[in-house]
Amino acid sequence: MVLEIIVMVKQVPDSQEVVIDPVTMNLNRSLTRNVTNRADENALEAALRLKDSVGANVTVVSMGPPQAETTMIECLARGADRAILASDRFFGGADTYPTGLTLAATISKIGKFDIIIAGEETSDSSTGHVGPGVAEFLDIDQVTYTSKVEYKDGYVIAERELEDGTEVVKVPTPVLVTVLLNSNVPRRQTLRRKIDAIRKGFEVWDHDRIGLQPEWVGVRGSPTIVRRMRPIKERERAAKKIELSAVGDLVKELYEKNVLKLEVDS
């Protein structure tokens, strides 16, 4: 019996070259290149390593517009066995709630799974909320922010990185795991695998195929709305130029303005 692993991935705008439309204050998607979310590449790699070590079927699942096909092919070319893109005009404009709902419904439609792996967060919205949301919809446990994931005899043993330490956890499957950005080095796509991937193709599932009502998903199914966007205004600062010869005066000024203090304080 091999493990059934689901990997959740998302195609995101390349964070290096985000272009904002100065009129609408929205992302100019026509000028922005799309890439696979980098932490999701680490998620796929974590899954493929489990496949290498204990044997697994790896299915990649994504929600996105048709152009996410490049991400689906890329995941197959790296070694995933199957790829499903949940794509439907009704899915657009979703906040984290219906995004999690759509992915969870897609996963439960696939059938049995042991481990779901996702990146810690996506670089375009940086919420980290979709993974745990999916786990809640599917009523399974989760281990987030992991740097190391192993599987043994029905348990996942993982290391979670918190702000002040590393937690080693052991949890029975089925379980959802999120992995940290850069927690491994993703393998490259080979030309051979890429040709196979294109030949093999991926599946596109719409709301009907997944069994979702149009009003449950996308913008209509989202509890939150963006009311407005504004550029982040910073406090004006003087950038007063200090010559080396005047550093003594600067130090005096900082102490006199109580920016620096002679007494120890906390």
Binding site: S125, P132, E136, D139, E161, Q213, R227, P231
Partner: protein, 352 residues
């Protein structure tokens, strides 16, 4: 509860009252983000004339409950059990979702720490609520009691104001290090309601085998932070940074590229993927000022930057700039601080 179903709007949003904040703990001690939540939660509760409820779970939480009251919490809702001594997703999310269903809060704030994010989205789905992640500005509309959750987006260049109009509670996670720790309240009065709970074994299957505590440099509490970047040119440059930090009674920070080079450990990283600091004085040495760094320090009270490049981006965010070789400027600063102190005749300060 769980199950694949859409979020149903609250039938009577007006029945939802008061502000919940989640108090994150480690080893039964309140973490700094917990105090930050009390500060911002209290402000919002007072604006709409409601109470601040603090949600506290753990193995032994009596002292922390009192501490929360001393910072201005009106009601502590606690759950105590040896099984809750360490944070675990399932028991924490189930118990807190039950608190939400009983008390019907209008607003619920959770720190956007790793465990906070692990928890918040589970509660939101469980309660069919809306949640806005990683907010840096939080306010409430007085007449409608609508939460104004603001979060940076598009590479931190824009601020999105996000509302949750029909679902309750209105949830948000708040970025740590942004909201100030409140002053303690004199003669604080608050109600403490702690119940002993034995969670169902079915949700206690996750075992924490080990916790390896990192030797973390807490930059967020420091009054002075001196940070070094690529301009140092070599790992040894951090010795000079340390020397200045020691002289100012501060701590050492670093830009991400310097950390990535291995010049200093990641614990020192200031920025979007590091710590967010707001000290009285921030000194940026040899740091160009990429947005990822700026996000972590721009709220410092006073900023001094040292860089040879007169067009360095960091200067736009600085109160004082020294356009010169840092290996001249930093020793000059150290010398002048020593001189000033010896004129005032005081002993060197300890790191604060």
């Amino acid at each position: 509860m769980a199950g694949i179903k859409p979020a149903t709007p609250a039938s009577k949003p007006e029945e939802y009252k008061n502000v919940f904040v989640y108090l994150e703990t480690r080893d039964d001690r309140l973490l700094r983000p917990a105090l930050e939540m009390i500060g911002v939660g209290k402000k919002i509760a007072e604006k709409v004339n409601e109470k601040l409820y603090c949600i506290l779970l753990g193995g032994n939480i009596r002292d922390q409950a009192k501490e929360a009251v001393s910072y201005g919490c009106d009601v502590v809702l606690g759950a105590e059990s040896p099984a809750l001594a360490t944070y675990r997703t399932l028991p924490y999310s189930h118990i807190i979702a039950d608190f939400v269903k009983e008390e019907k809060p209008n607003i619920f704030l959770i720190p956007a720490t790793r465990n906070g994010r692990d928890l918040a989205s589970r509660i939101a789905v469980r309660c069919e609520a809306g949640v806005t992640a990683d907010c840096t500005e939080i306010d409430v509309e007085q007449d409608t009691r609508i939460l104004l959750a603001n979060r940076p987006t598009y590479g931190e260049s824009m601020l999105a104001e996000i509302l949750c109009k029909r679902h309750r509670p209105q949830m948000a996670t708040a970025r740590p290090g942004i909201f100030p720790v409140p002053e303690k309240v004199k003669s604080a009065k608050g109600e403490i309601r702690i119940r002993e709970i034995s969670p169902d074994k079915a949700i206690l299957k996750k075992e924490i085998l080990e916790y390896r505590k990192k030797n973390v440099v807490d930059l967020t509490a420091a009054k002075v932070v001196v940070s070094g970047g690529m301009g140092l040119g070599k790992p040894d440059g951090f010795k000079l940074i340390q020397e200045l930090a020691d002289e100012l009674g501060g701590v050492v920070g670093a830009s991400r590229p310097a950390v990535d080079m291995g010049w200093i450990s990641r614990d020192h990283q200031v920025g979007q993927t590091g710590q967010t600091v707001r000290p009285r004085l921030y000194v940026a040495v040899g740091i160009s000022g990429k947005i990822q760094h700026i996000m972590g320090m721009k709220n410092s009270e006073t900023i001094l930057s040292i860089n040879t490049d007169p067009n360095a981006e960091i200067f736009k965010y600085s109160d004082y700039v020294i356009v010169d070789d840092l290996y001249k400027a930093v020793p000059a600063l150290i010398q002048e601080v020593r001189k000033y102190k010896s004129e005032k005749q005081v002993a060197p300060t300890e790191p604060s």
